[in-house]
Subunit: 200 residues, 2 copies
């Protein structure tokens, strides 16, 4: 079986949210799995020095317009939430706590967290919201709450983030296909072409 | 006749260079003209506060790789030149001086300047190079040299840049289609879809 596609994203990245719609289907068309890898993009942005798009004059207005337009084109429900961005450490911990126990359920939780924030405007920066979304997914709330405080889970989130940065990841969505890096929702067509052609 | 597509770019933008290949053909497929609008992107970047991609840690390496890969996919000759970036005020003045006299020739000069920099590695930041490229395009060198110092041309370049910023332009390539703004070489597919569908 060919190697999985690494899909790095931050739960607070709207373009990551758009990328999360479609990457699994795209990969499946080419017989690939996708390894969902939420990470703390803020750590990468501290190194790159890149300010968030929506905090830059001129870019902010354009980006809001582009996000809404790209979401409509993709048929994905989207509203830029308030507050934005939010800290996503609780969401990340919930994901990796569950991934160690039930990988398919972790994928579903990730989708539910993204939808809660970008479709329903719920503040997933608050651990309470992460717990509520988890409960809606059928998870045991107390067990998940324990997971958010589990030292091993905390370490794992830091390690995933460190590994991401060591691999040159800095944005979201960020895909790595057989060692080849593609940054951005708008590189999905290139990812597909790469899988079809084996590179160019 | 439907309105022309505005194509804003800076002569020092490699993604602008990639966008310059293809936009005319794309527009022609939909019965549109393209108004080439070189401007001084540095003035917009001072407002947006965005540092150049190739000056940001993590982004720099990725961007160099992405440029080369995107150019190969598009079949466009490309080498990131040294020095990079360069000041493009002389190139802009040459363009607008000629546009006032012979618009099709100005378009050809723009293509030649872009190719000189990104395909042949000639430093178009130097007025001497701009004059040499102009001469290769059959322009009178002394007349062009006069154009580079013409106060009306200088004013025009400033006005185009001010107008661009007032319209929300901040990057390159930046397309405006019937009032709808699209930023990036990677939005060409959306531009085409917009022209086909009349928007979504």
């Amino acid at each position: 079986m060919a190697e999985a596609i690494d899909f790095y994203f931050d739960f607070s990245s709207p373009y990551g949210y758009l990328g999360s719609h479609g990457i699994d289907d795209l990969a499946a068309r080419h017989g690939r799995e996708v390894a969902w890898r939420p990470y703390l993009m803020g750590a990468a942005m501290k190194i790159s020095g890149s300010p968030p798009l929506v905090e830059q004059p001129l870019l902010a207005e354009y980006t809001k317009h582009d996000l809404a337009r790209s979401a409509r084109l993709a048929g994905v429900p989207f509203t830029l939430p308030e507050p934005f961005p939010v800290a996503t450490v609780a969401a990340c911990r919930a994901y990796y706590w569950l991934e160690a126990r039930d990988p398919p359920a972790a994928r579903e939780l990730a989708r539910a967290l993204y939808a809660a924030y970008f479709a329903d405007g719920r503040n997933i920066g608050a651990p309470e919201t992460v717990l509520a979304v988890g409960a809606e997914q059928g998870l045991d709330r107390d067990a998940l709450q324990g997971g958010l405080q589990d030292p091993a889970v905390k370490t794992h989130v830091r390690e995933v983030t460190d590994t991401a940065i060591a691999r040159g990841v800095f944005g979201a969505p960020f895909f790595i296909v057989d060692g080849e890096a593609f940054w951005g929702h708008d590189r999905l067509a290139q990812v597909e072409h790469w899988l079809q052609s084996g590179g160019w």
